[in-house]
Symmetry: none
Subunit: 251 residues, 2 copies
C-alpha cells in the first residue's frame, strides 16, 4: 500500500487534531519541531502538512504557525464525491440499497464520457438512498469495465461504493467534474422517491477520475427538491464554477 513516511506523519497529526490534542484554533508545532520529533527532513514534514491543508483541516500563513481550522475527519472532496461520507459527516443516518446491477455494452454517450471503446462492457447500477429514513436520492451509475469486478462483489446494502473499492481494490477517486441542473421527475424517479411525476428534482451528474486520469464512473444522481443544496465559493482569483447552456439554448 501507500505506507510512506509523510502519510504516516499526516495520519498522526490528523488523529491528534481529531482527538483534541490540537484543539480548534490552536497552533500546530513548527516544521522544524516536527522534523526533529519524527527524525525526518523538513521536506517530508511539508508533504505531510500539505496533505492536511488540502483536506481543509489546517491553514497556513507565511511567518506564522499553522492553525487548526476544522477537526472533522472527512475531506470535502470526498464528501462531494461520496454521498455516504457527506451524510455521515452531517450526522445523518444514511442507508443505501442497490436495486439493479447489470453488465451491458456502453451506449455511445457513456463510452464517450468514460473515455472507453465504443461497445465495450460497463456495469450499470440503480441505487436508492435514504437520509434519516426518508428516500432522498436516486442514483444511476455506469462504472467503467475495469472497475466492474470490484463493484459486483459488494453487498446490495453497501453504504459507500467509492469507499469500499478504494479499500479493497485501491481504486481511488482524485478528480471530479460535476454538472448540476434541474429536471422533472420521471415515473421511476417519482415511484422511488415518493413524489409526484414531473415534480422538481435537483440533478447532479458527475464523472470521477483516478489520479492518472482514468475514468471510474459516470453518474446521474437525482435529489428530491429541498433535500440538498450545493454550495460554491468563488473569487476573482479562482472560479471553479461555470455556467453552461443546456439543450434548450442555442438549439
Amino acid at each position: 500500500m501507500g505506507a510512506t513516511r509523510y502519510r504516516e506523519i499526516a495520519e498522526s497529526l490528523r488523529h491528534a487534531i481529531r482527538t483534541g490534542t490540537y484543539p480548534l484554533g490552536s497552533r500546530l508545532p513548527s516544521e522544524s519541531d516536527l522534523s526533529a520529533r519524527w527524525e525526518v527532513s523538513r521536506g517530508t514534514v511539508r508533504q505531510a502538512v500539505a496533505l492536511l491543508a488540502s483536506e481543509g483541516l489546517i491553514g497556513s500563513r507565511q511567518g506564522a504557525r499553522r492553525v487548526v481550522l476544522r477537526q472533522e475527519r472527512r475531506q470535502s472532496f470526498q464528501q462531494l464525491n461520496s454521498f455516504a461520507q457527506w451524510a455521515q459527516a452531517m450526522g445523518c443516518e444514511v442507508a443505501s440499497r442497490i436495486l439493479t446491477r447489470t453488465v451491458r455494452t456502453a451506449t455511445d454517450e457513456e463510452a464517450g464520457r468514460l473515455d472507453a471503446e465504443p461497445g465495450s462492457e460497463v456495469l450499470y447500477v440503480l441505487r436508492l438512498r435514504w437520509l434519516d429514513g426518508e428516500p432522498v436520492m436516486v442514483e444511476r451509475t455506469v462504472y467503467a469495465g475495469w472497475v466492474a469486478p470490484a463493484v459486483l462483489e459488494l453487498p446490495e446494502d453497501c453504504v459507500s461504493i467509492m469507499d469500499s473499492i478504494a479499500e479493497r481494490a485501491d481504486i481511488v477517486a482524485h478528480y471530479g467534474e460535476h454538472l448540476i441542473d434541474a429536471v422533472a421527475a420521471g415515473s421511476e424517479d417519482a415511484r422511488l422517491l415518493r413524489v409526484r411525476r414531473a415534480s422538481p428534482l435537483l440533478r447532479q451528474r458527475h464523472l470521477t477520475y483516478t489520479a492518472a486520469g482514468r475514468a471510474i464512473e459516470w453518474t446521474d444522481d437525482r435529489y428530491r427538491a429541498g433535500s440538498v443544496v450545493f454550495n460554491v465559493m468563488n473569487s476573482a482569483g479562482a472560479a471553479p464554477l461555470e455556467r453552461r447552456a443546456g439543450p434548450d439554448v442555442r438549439g
Copy 2:
C-alpha cells in the same frame, strides 16, 4: 506579488496545453527535461506540475510521463457573477428588462445576508432575462443600501447591472458565494417564464462582495429547466464545492 518560478512554469505549461502545443491525451515533457529547459531544480518543476494536477489539467502515474487530461480554460469569475457576460461569451443574444424597482426596509433574512443593520433600507429589483428571444430566467435581487443609488440610475433594459455599476460607480464584485438547488415554479415564475406552475426550476442564489468584503447584493435567480447547467470541477487537492442539507433534512 506571487511571481515565483514554479508559478511561472505552471502558467507557461497551462498556456501550452490551452493552445494545443500539448494536445489532449499527449505526454508532457519529463521532469528532468523541464528542469533542464527552465534551468531550475527538479523540485521546482514538481511544484509546477502539482499545481496543474490539482486543477485537473494533467494526470500522473509513477513510471509514466504525465498526460494532458483537458485543455479548457475555466470561465472567469465575472462570467459566473454576470449573466450578461456569460451569455455574450457563449454567443447568445441576451436581453433584460427590469419589471420592478422598490426601495424598502430589509427583512431580517436579507439584513443578515447583506450584513446590514436590521431595518435598514435596501433596493429590491425584479428582472426578467432572455436568451435568443426566449425568457429563461427570473431574477430577484436585493441590493445593499449603499449600492441602491447607482442601480436606480440605470435604464430598465440595462443588459448588465454589475458591469454598469462597476463602470459608473466603481462598485466591483470580487467574491461570491452560491447556493444551488431545485424549486417548483411559483405563479409569478410560471407566468414570466411561460412554464406550468410547479414545473422544475434551477435556482441559484448568490451573495456578492467587494474586495473589501462589503456585501453588494443577495440574489435569487431561477432558470427554466434545461436552459443552463452549472459545471464544477474539483480534485483531492482543491474542493470549492460542497453539498449542504436543505430544510427537509434534519428538520
